[in-house]
């Protein structure tokens, strides 16, 4: 994999920030966009912007073909069996909320259980808290091991016959933990529960085969994998989606509208009320083409190597706490001892290095780690060993800055 050539496809990386060559280490928050995506969106707006699925004019047809073509690309990307199973959403949050609102509220009752983990992003906690409150179901957590992983024996202990929904992240956005989705899916299914996977940090970085994983729902966001913000995907098994009610009602999703009653379009459109995110979907299609040209397995291998390199360099530093397991996705959450992560991020920013500082939308996990906030460096296919070296040098400077003179 030629990282130098890949970097040239990302115009934003070629700039100075605060007088230093820009180092972007916040791809878990949002990834940068390759020129192919920027141009695909630009071309749509410049030459064939039209609404989809209505009208018979030429540009409308072209837009519809591109929009539905993007759906087919997503289907192929996650190895779903039918494009009817691919619903475009605003992002992972909307995708999870759709299931928590539609599926969970229709299928849960008092005494039933929803099982999640403490490492979830807020967007995979709060929808289930709300679903539990609305239905009288109980929310349960699979305990974490000290290194931030889960054990299958604990999964087996937590999931019971009362469990109707299991929701779990594919990859933790804080710990970098990669969860054993396939095994959890089997355990969930043995007990008659469905499994929803939050794939926001999974799909951008590794090959996802929803049929092999055998999950029932898989949610992810385009903007973390090179596509624009505002587009995401809910994959669901057809037989489940078919029996689910839409959450949003209006144009685009209807079949017949009578004065007092209406019927819905078939899948996937019944879940896409209103004018859809056309440019976003086209951009996501272009991002998928870009990633597949490089190859998801190549991206994963490259990121593993970079994560190992970063772990070695950072573990060798004094006065640093690193959170999460040894085997991890390409992100490192850490704190310099005695320096607050906001201060670390500010000093790094002055060096042209962008990292995240805060609670990473995972307050329960922060409490589990017994910290109020952390810093996080997250990597993607365009990051290099030099970026890691710059980070480590920046952290040394941070320590010196806060260690000396005060």
């Amino acid at each position: 994999m030629d990282v130098k050539a890949i970097r040239e496809q990302f115009p934003i990386l070629n700039q100075e920030v605060n007088g230093h060559p820009f180092v972007y280490l916040d791809s878990s928050a949002t990834s940068q966009k390759p020129i192919q995506v920027i141009e695909a969106v630009d071309t749509y707006y410049r030459s064939y912007n039209s609404n989809v699925h209505r009208g018979v004019h030429t540009l409308g047809t072209k837009a519809t073909t591109a929009y539905e073509g993007a759906r087919e690309k997503v289907r192929r990307f996650i190895h779903a069996s039918s494009s009817a199973e691919i619903i475009f959403t605003r992002g992972t949050t909307t995708a999870i909320n759709t299931v928590a609102t539609s599926y969970a509220r229709a299928n849960l009752k008092a005494g039933d259980e929803i099982v999640i983990t403490p490492m979830e992003h807020h967007s995979n906690i709060i929808p289930w808290q709300q679903a539990a409150k609305a239905t009288g179901a109980t929310l349960k957590y699979i305990p974490l091991q000290e290194d931030g992983t889960i054990r299958l024996e604990d999964v087996r202990k937590t999931i019971t016959k009362q469990t109707k929904v299991v929701a779990m992240t594919h990859v933790s956005n804080v710990l970098g933990t990669i969860n054993p989705i396939q095994e959890v899916a089997s355990i969930a299914h043995e007990h008659g529960a469905v499994l929803l996977v939050d794939g926001a940090q999974g799909a951008p970085h590794m090959k996802v085969d929803v049929q092999e994983l055998n999950c029932d729902f898989y949610a992810f966001s385009g903007h973390k994998m090179g596509a624009p913000t505002g587009i995401g995907v809910l994959y669901g098994k057809k037989e489940l989606l078919e029996n689910m009610e839409p959450v949003e009602f209006g144009g685009e999703m209807i079949d017949f509208v009578n004065l007092y009653d209406s019927t819905w379009k078939e899948l996937p459109w019944k879940f896409e009320g209103g004018t859809p995110i056309i440019a976003g979907a086209i951009g996501l299609g272009a991002a998928i083409d870009f990633l597949e040209d490089i190859g998801m397995d190549n991206i994963t291998k490259r990121e593993e190597k970079l994560a190992q390199y970063a772990m070695q360099k950072m573990q060798a530093m004094d006065d640093i706490s690193i959170y999460g397991p040894e085997h991890r996705a390409a992100l490192i959450t850490f704190n310099l001892n005695d320096v607050h992560p906001h201060d670390t991020a500010t000093v790094l920013d002055a060096e042209g290095i962008a990292v995240r500082a805060g609670h990473h939308c995972a307050q329960p996990l922060m409490r589990w780690l017994n910290v109020t906030a952390t810093a996080r460096a997250s990597f993607y296919l365009y990051n290099t060993e030099e970026d890691v070296d710059r980070l480590v040098a920046g952290l040394q400077k941070t320590k010196e800055y806060f260690g000396n003179g005060f």
């Binding site: 605060n18 607050h340 000093v347 002055a350 805060g358 109020t372 800055y401």
Partner: protein, 144 residues
């Protein structure tokens, strides 16, 4: 922004308040108590104040956060002690303006160490850190 520009943010007096916070703790017994957090970053503060006859007699804080938020809380408690409530609120407004980089009329108000926080206005991402304790104070004395 060069590295030494950081010194406009992290002035020595700020780091002194961060490392040696004044009025750290809580007032036991009958006191105004305000809990406030910054949900986007996780900083939190608990402010306790004793107000008698319209005057802030005592103010203490506990909390967790970055150097800017904790130093600001330390300075704020120091500044408002002994002030009339109206004056404390006026000071808070002056501080907000200072954070926006606006010119402020400081006549009749002794900002003391607080002036050192002026540099925060050049770091927009950190303004909310500096204003957290002031917002808590206003909420408390206004009885909101």
């Amino acid at each position: 922004m060069a590295f030494n520009n950081l010194d406009t943010l992290y002035r020595q007096v700020i780091m002194d308040h961060y490392k040696n916070p004044r009025n750290k703790g809580r007032i036991d017994g009958d006191a105004l108590t305000v809990d406030m957090n910054n949900p986007t970053c996780g900083d939190r503060i608990q402010l306790t104040m004793q107000v008698e006859d319209g005057i802030v007699k005592e103010a203490k804080f506990e909390g967790e956060g970055c150097s800017i938020s904790m130093a600001s809380a330390s300075m704020m408690t120091q500044a408002i002690k002994g002030l009339e409530v109206e004056k404390a609120i006026k000071m808070s407004h002056i501080f907000s303006k200072m954070m926006l980089g606006e010119d402020v009329d400081t006549e009749g108000v002794d900002l003391g160490d607080i002036e050192a926080l002026q540099g925060v206005s050049k770091f927009p991402a950190r303004i909310k850190c500096a204003t957290l304790s002031w917002k808590a104070m206003e909420k408390g004395v206004k009885g909101e």
